[in-house]
Symmetry: C2
Subunit: 256 residues, 2 copies
DNA sequence: CCTTATCGAGCGAGCGTTCGGTAGATATTG
DNA sequence: CAATATCTACCGAACGCTCGCTCGATAAGG
């Protein structure tokens, strides 16, 4: 357990964690994962053909859905955009709903994979761990903006089964924040009267970034600036009074 | 301009503003406003008939849309739910899109009406004003939950014109927060280095309450508790260090 | 008996999905 | 290696259905 002075000193310098770029998956990798998970419903066998086609389909579907919504996207739109015929598309999914489930499940799985694998040196200190969770979540959504926008916009208005999936994924994300904050309280890094509501409030602040991406782009707000601000708001809500004073603007330092 | 000690003392007691119940409109009043605004497209002339019918239509439309989305709600569904025929419905709107615009415009207008009319004694102090804005917004959405849920869920996925309307409404709300925070900085109530991003972060925290209403109901979180927590998070982000320490749990005291 | 408010069958358009057909790659055979 | 057979990946017309919306008929009140 560190005392306030030690923590203040620790916070004064921006923590540096390894660049996420390494472990942030490419769209091609996501599609490969989807292809593997849906071998039984995808009738095209040769990966050299299936993979680029599936990627083209998914990217087009996400793109079309992100203007107008998934329901509003017709398979004729998708057919035109991908250059494939209506019948041809059905070699890659057995219903429009399955197409949607493919994407949602992959996004939910990605969040879990990334957030549950922090670098070892990050988890030593709850403050650093919390900041890493916030920063990493933001960078992940930034790297796969269209995918997360899609998942957010379409998770509502769903058949109960898919809706449950979205709710579970959200609860899991919140649990990451809950766990580290609880650990911080127990270890004395966070104030003991930190509100149990705080973890729930972090998620909407992270969603704001990619849902309203256009707004922040228009205003010239960088991801670094947004990340720093969310970290600051959250830490001011859970750090003891003195710790908060030492808060320096903080994000991961650019590497390379 | 107050000094820190004065402000701390002021904050220690929960501010009390008049109950919003008085000025919070009923659904019937909203419908009356909509009826007046759409006289030209509504062909039914006698208000004694038009008003209850319109209310029935709007409430059913919001209800049906809030499970499944506006697009998924068919006019046959609406016909069944209201007990009116397809043709009969078209005496109250000239297209499905108009029906949607009626509701969105009314909600946007309501937000503007309520938030731009704070009680006189609230506006004297930026801290109280800011807390009033947060608390009032939450109570407004609580009183008209279905309407705000509808507006939030359907504001995306829109023709550009309606989308612009939603964006403008959101910007207006943010501007209320911006103005009072700026005033607080100038008057010395808020720290001079308060992030210009803070106003933008308040909105998602308020939306969270009605968008995820079921989650907080399940957890037994009351509106008072949620309001207090959001106020605390926001004030910790903009109050000078000392002021934050004096923060007592705060909401409008219930008036019996 | 005209006006007002409502009805409900029905229109054309567009939806998700299916399925018979086929070109080209691949495997099998002599 | 040429000829043949098989398979893979895809096409696109067509099907059954639901959609938003219209319009002539109709009922009720003054």
């Amino acid at each position: 357990m560190t005392n306030p002075t030690q923590r203040a000193a620790q916070l004064a310098s921006a923590p540096i964690w390894p660049p996420m770029t390494d472990q942030m998956p490419t769209v091609a990798q996501l599609c490969q994962s989807i292809l593997a998970r849906h071998q039984d419903t995808i009738s095209v066998r040769k990966p050299s053909i299936a993979l680029p086609r599936l990627q083209r389909i998914l990217e087009a579907a996400i793109d079309l859905s992100n203007k107008g919504g998934f329901q509003a996207m017709s398979l004729r739109d998708l057919s035109r955009e991908t250059g494939m015929s209506a019948g041809g598309l059905y070699a890659y999914f057995d219903s429009k709903t399955t197409l949607l489930k493919m994407i949602l499940a992959e996004v939910a799985d990605l969040v879990q994979r990334i957030l549950s694998n922090p670098p070892a040196d990050v988890t030593r200190d709850p403050v650093t761990h919390l900041r890493w969770l916030i920063d990493t979540h933001l960078r992940m959504t930034e790297a796969l903006l269209a995918w997360f926008t899609f998942a957010f916009m379409e998770a509502k208005n769903f058949p109960p089964a898919e809706r449950r999936m979205a709710v579970d994924s959200e609860m899991l994300t919140e649990s990451f924040f809950s766990a580290v904050i609880l650990r911080g309280i127990e270890g004395g890094a966070f104030r003991p009267d930190t509100s149990p509501l705080l973890p729930a409030l972090i998620k909407p602040l992270l969603q704001e970034w990619y849902v309203k991406r256009a707004k922040y782009r228009r205003r010239g707000i960088t991801l670094d600036a947004y990340s720093a601000e969310v970290q600051q708001v959250v830490l001011r809500a859970c750090l003891p009074e003195r710790g908060g004073a030492a808060l320096a603007p903080m994000t991961r330092a650019p590497i390379g």
